[in-house]
């Protein structure tokens, strides 16, 4: 009896230990198969020529510095003052556009370094990188979406100049909301453009930035590793995004969720690895509604791609590896493009709604200040994102031409005037536009165009979505029947 009880106990123990061991083993395998690291970095040093002490080859401080310069530009664009003879606002904006903060003179403006609710690790742009600016990386092509045949950086400079001289950054006469225009366009012309039209484009070919050589002389990362990291930095997702829900990523960008942001539990948010920025923020805003998964699709492809490059162990990537990288690039850039197209769709819907309110205010003779303010903000977002979309690698000229023609260079104002160009002094030229009703139809057509040309799923503010749903509900008559 005694013996059999002991054997029973031993068997129970063995079973228990085995169960724990197997569970651990299988969950570990499952975890690795699911998302590998699950976090973007650290990744080991594979660059063979490097002899230093660094253990992590990941580096994208310059890109995060640009994310923060972009945030600062948006904040400063609303500080314009037409009565300031020193043009202080413009000068400050230009310093965030042009300066490489090696001497650490540019303070981080957003997120606020003095916030106690959302404390951040870095205080100055130079804390992330002393060699990064926005102007050097802006799209150099002529921008047909903006009057004046300017290059991308010239468009930003033009907008900055105008914003500096405009009270609050909003030109109510011409309908330009510069904080929105500057922010959204910079997101496209620098961040999206650099990632998808440079680092993930030319630099992912066999001959450019090879993996068996350092990115630059003496670097601790290979050509391909760093190119990939830089693109990830422009995407703007926290390194631990895969461990978060879309709503958590969104709240991090809004500085509302310190707990989710602080992945290493050091009490502060590391702005390089623990923050959500720009495009990743917009992706999270759509994903949290549940219809899309842009943020994780892109972030996972970045992690998988980086693992693949790391697995080459500092050797040149094979044809098969380069092909696989192209698959990841395709996921990243098509999802990224869709996120921007979703934004164009969303704000075309907002503008449509705002115009309806303006029409009613005009009809009733009531005040329209509130409606106008929203209209100009939303139009600025619409225009900025539409311009951003055109900064990508694909020149969908027919789509872009139609998009630009329908929204114009400026919003249709209640007196039916609209910016149609700029003169040699940089002043806007205006002409009589169409009716408000006609301009509203243009917004509907912009939504239709986006839905046709891009794989949109979120479709926020769908102006005719309710109508399509009703038709769906009533059903189609497919059979021949008499009544």
């Amino acid at each position: 009896m005694y013996k059999s009880t002991n054997i029973g106990k031993s068997l129970t123990k063995v079973s228990f230990v085995s169960t724990i061991a197997f569970t651990f083993m299988f969950t570990s395998i499952g975890f690795v198969n699911a998302d590998g690291h699950g976090v973007y970095g650290p990744f080991p040093i594979t660059e063979k020529s490097y002899n230093g002490s660094k253990k992590n080859s990941v580096s994208y401080g310059g890109q995060i510095a640009r994310q923060l310069q972009h945030n600062a530009l948006k904040k400063l664009a609303s500080k314009g003052n037409p009565n300031d003879p020193t043009n202080a606002a413009e000068k400050k904006m230009l310093s965030y556009l042009n300066t490489k903060d090696k001497s650490k003179t540019l303070a981080i403006m957003d997120p606020s370094p003095s916030s106690s609710k959302f404390p951040v690790k870095q205080k100055m742009i130079g804390d992330l990188s002393g060699g990064a600016n926005l102007s050097g990386k802006a799209d150099k092509r002529i921008q047909t979406s903006w009057p004046g045949n300017m290059s991308g950086v010239d468009v930003i400079k033009f907008m900055i100049k105008k914003a500096g001289k405009t009270s609050g950054g909003v030109d109510t006469r011409n309908g330009m909301n510069y904080p929105q225009l500057i922010s959204k366009y910079t997101m496209g012309a620098v961040l999206y453009h650099q990632a998808c039209d440079n680092y993930l484009d030319e630099k992912m070919t066999a001959s450019s930035k090879p993996n068996n050589k350092p990115y630059k002389k003496g670097a601790y990362y290979t050509g391909k590793e760093h190119s990939w990291d830089e693109a990830f930095g422009y995407w703007g997702a926290a390194a631990h995004t895969m461990k978060l829900t879309a709503a958590q990523s969104y709240d991090i960008a809004k500085k509302k969720d310190l707990k989710s942001a602080d992945y290493n539990n050091d009490g502060v948010v590391d702005l390089q690895t623990e923050m959500t920025y720009a495009h990743a923020y917009y992706a999270s805003s759509y994903d949290k509604k549940g219809k899309t998964n842009y943020l994780k699709n892109v972030t996972k492809a970045f992690i998988d791609g980086r693992q693949l490059i790391t697995s080459a162990d500092g050797n040149k990537l094979s044809k098969a590896q380069l092909d696989k990288i192209q698959d990841y690039v395709q996921i990243i850039c098509s999802n990224w493009e869709d996120v921007i197209a979703e934004s164009v769709f969303k704000y075309a819907g907002s503008v449509y709604k705002d115009l309806g309110k303006i029409e009613k205010a005009l009809e009733s003779g009531s005040g329209m200040d509130g409606a106008m303010s929203k209209y100009l903000k939303h139009w600025g977002e619409l225009k900025g994102f539409a311009m951003a979309l055109q900064a990508g690698p694909d020149n969908k000229s027919d789509t872009f031409n139609r998009l630009n023609r329908m929204m114009g260079f400026g919003p249709l104002m209640p007196n039916l005037s609209q910016v149609v160009g700029i003169d040699s002094s940089g002043n806007y030229i205006k002409d009589q536009g169409s009716s408000i009703g006609y301009y509203k139809v243009h917004m509907l057509k912009i939504q239709k165009l986006m839905a046709e040309k891009y794989a949109l799923k979120a479709k926020v503010n769908d102006a005719t979505g309710g109508m399509a749903a009703l038709l769906e509900k009533v059903g189609t008559k497919k059979s021949a029947e008499n009544d």
């Binding site: 009703g437 109508m467 009703l470 038709l471 509900k473 009533v474 189609t476 497919k478 059979s479 021949a480």
Partner: protein
Amino acid sequence: MEFLTQIIDTIYENFFDPKKRVFVGYLLSAILISFLWLFIVKKKTLIECFRKIFDKKIFLSKSAKADYMLFIINIIILMFLSPILITQLAIATFVFEYLHSQTFLMPIDVNLQYLWLIPYFFTISYFVLDDLTKFITHALMHKIPILWEIHKTHHSARTLTPITIFRTHPLEGVIFVIRSALTQGVVIALFFYVYGNNITFITILGANLLSFWFHLLGSNLRHSHIWINYWSWLEKIFISPAQHQIHHSIKKEHHNKNFGVTFAVWDCVFGTLCTSKDNEVSKFGLTKNENKYEHNVLYLYLSPFIGMYKIISKHTLSRFQNTNKQTFTIKN
């Protein structure tokens, strides 16, 4: 295989989707109504009721068998035709965009207090307007000779069963699809423009509230051998099953009467109403004497084309003769 699955799905949908007239629930309610009518009003015995309702002479007649064949064949034909037909969404989008260019009808802000009323207003309006366009289309099918040639297929039925609604020439099916798309597209676009996202259909089991009740209260008895009539005053508002059976009658005085589907008011207004009082039906169909081929499927599909050809050639010939006559007169 996929093709076959699609056919089976469509057949299944017709009988198991409450949006469809021959949904089993509506068929059962029609049986129940017939039974109650015969048992309580007509004082028939249970056996007599059963024999009358499930009369195999009706359901296994040559005419009924042709109906069943057309039901299946039309599904196949419409499967090919549907993709090329204009969709309600295209029409709705066109109308919705057009509405932005006018100032007569403008979007309105509804007082929150009355917001709940809008779906009811929309559901009723849609049902009424849909019924009106059905009336107009049906009247045109009778009044325009070429269209009558197509619609004759439906009227060639000698026995009426709920499946007789499918005894329809595919060309007529196309006309009905276009009518339905136009009505849906225009009405929904108009309401959506004015009321925005406040509009929605009030439905029961996914079917329009009023369609549901129309079908549940015996719409299938319109095409049946059960003569159920209403009070005369009610037959001036709603079309009774008996009134639609009058519409199928061969009697000359019944021709071109009762085009309405749900509402009789349209017939009242246009002078085509015929109530059931003193209007018993002796026989359904087109002629007194049966045509040897009238239930032949091939004949049913081809005869409208022959009929249309005859009309067109007759018309062309008469125009040619008129021209010749005029030329002759001028020469003289």
